[in-house]
Symmetry: C2
Subunit: 176 residues, 2 copies
Amino acid sequence: MRRIADQIGYTATAIYHHFADKDALLNELCLNDFRALGEALRQMEQLPDPIDRIRAMGVNYIKFAVNHPEQFRFMFLVERPIPGPDVITIDPAEDGYAFLLANVHEAMERGAFLPAFTDAELLAQIFWGSVHGLAVIHVTKPRDGIHPWLDLREPGESAEAMVDVVCRGVLKSTSA
Amino acid sequence: MRRIADQIGYTATAIYHHFADKDALLNELCLNDFRALGEALRQMEQLPDPIDRIRAMGVNYIKFAVNHPEQFRFMFLVERPIPGPDVITIDPAEDGYAFLLANVHEAMERGAFLPAFTDAELLAQIFWGSVHGLAVIHVTKPRDGIHPWLDLREPGESAEAMVDVVCRGVLKSTSA
DNA sequence: TCAGATAACCTAACGTCGTTAAGTAACGTG
DNA sequence: CACGTTACTTAACGACGTTAGGTTATCTGA
C-alpha cells in the first residue's frame, strides 16, 4: 500500500477512499488481468474449427503465463480472501473458461470426441488443467531450485506437445 | 513466527537459534512435505508395469494435493526466495520427479510410447504438468469465486480422466 | 572440582506493514 | 454564499519479522 502510494504520488491512506482495503484493490487489478487473458484467448474466435481454437487457446494460455508471469501468479496462485459475490463482476462473455467450454460443446456436437467423452465440463477441465499445469510450472520455475536435476523444456515446445497429446487422447480421428 | 512460538510455548526469538530466518524455517518444513509426497508416489514401486506406475502416480499426486492442500500450496505455490544451493538437501532417491522420470525411461525402453516421443524429460513434464494443473485447480478452488459458473468435477473423476487421456495420447497401444 | 565456554532462551526494541481516526482543503449544488 | 461531499493529509495503533543484549543452564577439560 505504502509503496503503491509512493509510486502514484499519494499517501497510503488516500487509497482507502477508492478501495475498501488491500484485497479489494488487488481483486480489481486481478479482474483486469483476467479480462486481458480472456481477450487474448478470445482472439482464437476467428479460427473456423473449434478443435483448432482449443489447440490455439492452449498454446496461447501458456504463452500468456510465460509473458506475464507476475500477472498469472497473481491471478491464480496468490492466496486472497474470497471476494464477496457483489465483487464478482467478470462477464461470462469475456471469460476465458466460458469460451473454452463453448468450444468444447461445439466440437462435441460435431462428434469430434471419442464416444466415451460426453461431459463437456469435464473435458474443458481436462484441457484447462493440462495447460494450466505447464503454465504454473513455468511461472514458479525458481522454486525448482529444489529439483536441480529438473531439466525444464521450453514453454513453447512443451505447450505444443501437451496440446497434441491431450487432443490425441480425446479426439476420434487424429488429424494432426 | 510469533504465532508458531506461541504454539510451541517459546518466544519468537527462540526460533532464531535454530533457523536463520523465517524462510529457512519454511524451507525446512517444505522439504519435509516434499519427502512426504515423494514417499507417497514411491509407493507405486510395487506395481510391475511402468505405465501402471505412472498412471497410479498421477492419480495419487492429485489425491495428495486434495488431502493436503495446505502443504501442496506451500510446496509449489507460495513465493519464497530461492534457497541457497547448500540448502538443497533433497535426495534424488526420495524425489517424486526423479521417480517419474525413471519410469518414463523404463517404459520408453520397452517401446510403450508412440515413436514421436523420444524425449523422456519432455514426456515426464507432460505427465507431471497435466496432473499438476488439476491439482493446482483443486487446491486453489476458493479463488474460482471469480468463475461462479465453473462447475468443478470431482478430483478423483478428473484425475482418472486426465491420466487416461494423456496415456491414450502418448501410448502406442491403448490397453485401457 | 571448578573455571570457562557454549547453548538455549528471555526481554526490549526497531522498522515495516495494513489500517483507522481525525482533521483540512477544494469543489459542486441549493 | 452556506453546505455537504469528495479527495486528501498527518498521526497513530497493532501486528509482524528481526536484532541486540542479557540471563541461565549444561557441558568440557585441567
